[in-house]
Symmetry: C2
Subunit: 335 residues, 2 copies
């Protein structure tokens, strides 16, 4: 079996560490592994298949000989170093927002648009976590009935802001338990016992950057340039899975029963929709799962005769929302 | 100044205690105060204006001479004892769902439909917390532009399930901090670090009871029988204020600027809408406030030309969502 030389940029980050675990657990045919980290981590090691892999400094000539490089160290790092990795002959799978909307870069969720992978010129972009989770859940319904409008409110976990943000939520909870004042340095507001509008800048149309990403990335992945999307992105005190309350309007009629049937067989999706037991997708159950959980499927009662459905989605932000989708892309590329 | 003889049924509950505090802080002209509680609390006392008021057992003949009785001990208690209070000559202000949809019982938020108070025949119903908070926020927009559709996702606090539910969230957080397993007895699922679909039974149309209440109560308070409402009610690990991501569609055009202007002057509402500072309504800031916080007002980008607005609301579930609205009703009735 052919083996591949793989690099991870941002190996010590929340997404990088999960990507490393997945390469091992998925038995990805890794021949050589190069783990890149920031200066303060260089010299340390991370475990992979029972051995300790050294953390290396990032440089323009660090990529020679690599087949794949997974970037998850933020858009600035990707812009600075991804071109060098491509020049060295590697395929870059970029978790950052740097290249997602570049026309020459495919933006791929393998369950949605695997065909776009063929168009890559060295870089494949991994979508925003909220967009990947939402897209995976509703794409099968779009294929059947043609989605013409999406209204979504999110319940986003701390992990989307990185490992330090998760630590801040844990630390605030411990401070609360100890009767101490709650301190913060990552989020602009207290995250424990609170919810707040997503902490990205607000643009002229009133959307924050997260909301704009989800809207534009869904349109690109679905190949529907003007797809109408109304989205409100909200942080909640959850550690690592995002949830989303979704309302869709479709061109063709689509009953809750049909939607349930479609989603029960869709790739990348697990249906959890037990009305009697009041059991639906929850972030604590989505955490650690590769699949996106979908349920609470019902008619949109505000849209009678208008082909509307409401549903609830939970997906692991670090897995389908980031590292798993990236590793899935690598798996597709070596098929 | 005339004084009134007031009773509180469920005085030791989360809502009852806040009602008691409000009667004092609002300087409601209380002549006599009777506090009713369950058998296990009888004999204990609660403080009011510097004196200790004894907790009394509830009985059919406990209401003689009272002018107002605030009921907040659940629908079963209200059905059993409210008629006796009315018979004794008191006006019942009922926090439970028992009488809200009865045609002869006005369901009132004083900022919305104070005129309905005149129609009471002894019982005035206090709306569901989510409906009261949502209604207060969007009623001024409805008056101006005529709301014809509402899509809302909620971020509901533990307090909506009572004092024991708040204690369960605190206890789980303390267990987490101590590295212990998280236990639960009130909610059907872990509430710390989780979100879940509202823990009420699901009806045939797929709505849970909370969602049905909000839909029906808004229609009744707004006097718009068929108002189209799509609502997803979700619990989040927040202690006592509910938040709601709201999308409305209006008959007449309504720009975000106009909506902001209207809400900046509306009664019962505080506008918090600072895009530059990324500062919007949050439950930790709504907690303890009589007003409902409203902000993040922007165009619904999925509804171009269709007069759509998105906004975010936070309101104290125990105040505007329950006890404050009840005391406000009493204040209106003695005007």
């Amino acid at each position: 079996m052919k083996e591949y030389r793989v690099g991870i940029v941002g190996a010590t980050g929340a997404v990088g560490q999960v990507a490393l675990e997945l390469l091992e657990s998925r038995k990805f045919p890794v021949g050589e592994l190069r783990l890149f980290a920031s200066a303060r981590s260089v010299g340390k090691t991370l475990p992979f298949k029972g051995t300790q892999i050294p953390l290396l400094p990032l440089s323009q000539d660090a990529f020679a000989g690599l087949d794949f490089v997974i970037f998850s160290a933020g858009a600035t790092r990707s812009r600075e170093f991804a071109p060098a990795a491509v020049k060295a002959g590697a395929v870059v799978i970029d978790n950052s927002s740097a290249y997602r909307m570049s026309p020459e870069v495919p933006l791929v969720v393998p369950e949605i648009n695997p065909g776009d992978l063929k168009l890559h010129k060295g870089i494949v972009a991994n979508p925003n976590c909220t967009a990947a989770i939402l897209g995976t859940a509703i794409w099968p319904l779009h294929q059947r009935a043609g989605i013409k409008r999406i209204v979504v409110s999110t319940y986003q976990s701390a992990s989307g802001a990185g490992a330090q943000a998760m630590a801040e939520l844990e630390s605030q909870v411990k401070q609360y338990a100890a009767g101490q004042p709650l301190t913060r340095s990552v989020f602009p507001h207290q995250i424990a016992f609170n919810v707040f509008s997503h902490n990205t800048a607000i643009g002229e149309d009133g959307s924050n950057e997260e909301e704009t990403k989800v809207r534009e990335e869904l349109r690109k992945m679905f190949h529907v340039p003007g797809l109408p999307v109304c989205i409100t992105c909200v942080r909640v005190p959850v550690l690592r899975a995002h949830s989303e309350a979704v309302v869709i309007e479709t061109e063709k009629p689509l009953s809750p029963e049909e939607a349930r049937e479609i989603l029960s067989q869709a790739p990348g999706v697990t249906l959890i929709d037990d009305r009697k037991a009041n059991y639906f997708p929850m972030p604590i159950e989505a955490s650690g799962k590769l699949d996106v959980l979908v349920g609470r499927i019902r008619e949109d009662l505000s849209n009678p005769g208008g082909h509307g459905l409401a549903l609830f989605v939970s997906g692991d932000q670090l897995l389908k929302g980031a590292a798993w989708n990236a590793v899935q892309i690598a798996e597709e590329l070596i098929k």
